[in-house]
Amino acid sequence: MSKVYSKIESIAGNVIIVKADGVRYGDLAQITTSFGTSLAEVIKLDNELVSLQVFAGSRGISTGDEVRFLGKSMQISYSESLLGRVFNGSGEPRDKGPRLSENLISIGGPSFNPAKRIIPRNMVRTGIPMIDLFNTLVESQKLPIFSISGEPYNEVLARIALQAEVDLIILGGMGLKYDDYLYFKETLEDGGALSRSILFIHTAADPVVESLMVPDISLAVAEKFALDGRKVLVLLTDMTNFADAMKEIAITQEQVPSNRGYPGDLYSQLASRYEKAVDIEGAGSITILAVTTMPGDDVTHPVPDNTGYITEGQYYLRNGRIEPFGSLSRLKQQVNDRTREDHRPLMDGMIKIYAAYKEALEKQSMGFQMTEWDEKLIKYGELFEKEMMDLTVNIPLEEALDNGWKILSACFEKEETGLRSSLIEKFWPADSLKSKAGQE
């Protein structure tokens, strides 16, 4: 079924309205203009009036242009031939490879039955102590990096992607700077991972609306591979651009905004994507690592705020480091009881003392007299930042735990750590270690 209409009733923002019948909600249409063709999706039906969201934007569309309904909703080809390929936000090749059209699958499919989910159980090792020790990443987790633009979030994403033991990496880029796109491509290539990667790239130069499909396409493909037994890591960068595209559409549609112009369903829209993360019993899994840039470094901005309510934690990247405060992995407790018995208590204990260090710093900056205790805290904080927070540190979890004890023993008496005596007896380093760590 493919009907052609050549009278566009109205054009506003990136939405056009045509009169047509037999059209279904969510169907695709192709619009042919003097500039080329673009896909469009049905976003509203009112009797014979059909509203279409045009992926390439409405600039240059004439009321006399041709609209052809495809009689189906958005689909993408699914096969092994996707591996190593690069596509744009509409699923068209961006590299020199062929168009793929076999084995089409729908995107934005139904949600996973909660009763079929299993409890996540595998730690994803990253070699970053702020992650492995303090906020362990878990297979099937959905977790964004919160940061302001300019921070090395894409570098962190790429590093984790290469280090994590996954079968497949899917990169969904939204509003990606061209340089960043090249960076990802090169890093994956250099790391020998490009052949097990699939890239869906919408760059900052592409029409905004086209970014809207990127998460759904990436996740639909990921879901199929996961059902086929693969461990898939999906990287989505930057979800704030995705949300902004939704905002733009909502405003053209004259929807009442709920908060700073964003539509009232922002939460549900983001959730339906992030909830695709899953560990499938007897098959593979989807882990989602995303980037959410925070306009004005404001975590209460609607995009990071809604994201935080959806995802299973977040990593705060600030000044090139993953901050201990605000960073959180909600799934860590599923795995950190099976790593080493001191993992959990050290994780909480060290952060508590780091918080006290911050207070001591504040005191110092206000010129108050520093007590003996404050001095200890300051020493601790400095060691902590150097040994744990610095992103150049790349060590296994066990080594990070040992370092934790070294730092504590270099700074404190046993009972000052707030840790249970039984643990201290077992893990407190001998004196020789103490002086060694102290000299570092």
Binding site: D46, F112, D265, K363
Partner: protein, 589 residues
Amino acid sequence: MSTTGKVVAINGNMVSVKADGNVIMNEVGYILNGDKRLKAEVIRIRGEVAQLQVFEQTRGIGVGDEVNFSGEMLAVELGPGLLGQIYDGLQNPLPELAEKTGFFLERGVYLEALSRTKQWSFKPSVSIGDKVNAGDYLGVVPEGPYEHKVMVPFNLREEYIVKAVVSEGSYTVSEKIVEAEDSRGGKKSFTMFFEWPVKRPITLYEERLKPVEPMVSKVRLMDTFFPVAKGGTYCIPGPFGAGKTVLQQITSRHAEVDIVIIAACGERAGEVVETLKEFPELIDPKTGKSLMERTIIISNTSSMPVASREASVYTAVTLGEYYRQMGLDVLLLADSTSRWAQAMREMSGRLEEIPGEEAFPAYLESSIAAFYERAGIVRLNDGNIGSVTIGGTVSPAGGNFEEPVTQATLKVVGAFHGLSRERSDARKYPAIHPTESWSKYNGIMPVDHVKYAHDILARSGEIEAMMKVVGEEGTSLQDYIIFQKGEFLDVVYFQQNSFDPVDAAVTPERQKKVFAQILLLLATELNFGDKEEARRWFYQMRQKYLDYNGAEWRSDSFKNYEKEIADILQAKSLGTDKRAASILEDLKK
């Protein structure tokens, strides 16, 4: 003949339908789409066009699709077999759905909430000639740890005379168990289950009572400081990651109630799974049976359709009210009421209603109030007492409590457990803010005892704030000790390790014991030479208490720690605060 219609417009999950007959507000209609029947609810009627919110994704629906109106309002099935179930917001059993459709939730598949084949051993409690009214008991069946009362359907207005009763034995929920006649000779037969529209409160009781008896949660900060009463209401607002869900999860495990209903409303599916997988393995100390047998999960998580999310909290509370009719204490935990409010907002937007603050509909406040009003402790017609307690989390935008949902909720609840970002960042769990939270209910401790501790805490907070300005050196030793006392109370009593097998759940008995010792410490004048000595002493004391909190109740090590604690305190004691004299007197008893 029932009404039919045709789709004329689609916008998101709202579909407008031109009907060929009468349409009832809130009735259920089905949109015929291919071989699927998609469930929807009428939410506005304008002339011959009805607007329906569809409980499914609307992709693929077209103008002209046929619609069948059912004539029935959105309802749930009430009868034996609800306990231990996991349902979606419309009471579809999710495990059975999975058997049918696999990993994913297919559109348009609706299953019966109660098994029609399972046999229940029914024991009648009425005999021929008895007069029965709506809500009266007809007999009992054992269900999990309880005797499930089989009742006369709640929607019947007439009095009936029992004409026939089945004998004791095994029956399915759909078999006739009683035949009866009304005063005009109209015949009626009853099965073990019936339906009830979710948006109607069940009010078949003698009177509503004032909630006074504490609902024990075994969370120290709740039971001792901000208690909740059976039949009361409370809310847990907090920014993301502050610990709302974990707090509800531990409450759902340890609360001393008969039945817990968990409404996972628009939140993460993964969180439900933890409950789902763990509860069958955990033993409820009260009944000796698995925790799952006292639990019902309504799981309409964030990626499931928004309209059924809106319905899910009503489904949950209706099931709660049903078990209350049996004289049981029910606790409903809704996570998160903000997602429910947002579902209302989405619908209101599509209906193009005039928006209120932050685009929420004007009826937001009254909807929230009406929901919490369905809690309550009641005296039933047979004199028994039953209760529904409601605890809802609130997820305020930006973590700012000055927003419509939090504000509307605070107006109607009896206790407020506000979670603070500062406390959760510092890993001080549960992150209930100890000075901003409040409760209007009485707890397990005498009010003046709690007040004494609370006053020290408040004073300690003031001193801490002052110290930030004048430094430790500008603070007197006296004040410094009070500051340390407040901190001590926070660390060893407010903070509770929910992942520690012992500390996770503290019985009222143990709370009373530990709190008494803490009160003694707080009321003791301590003898220190300088601040450094004071600090060290308090750290040592903290350490002892942390070990003590982790020791099994009344075990040897528990007793040893108790003794050590008393000795350490005694060694520095200069006597006690005169204002605490009567409290300390109480404690001796």
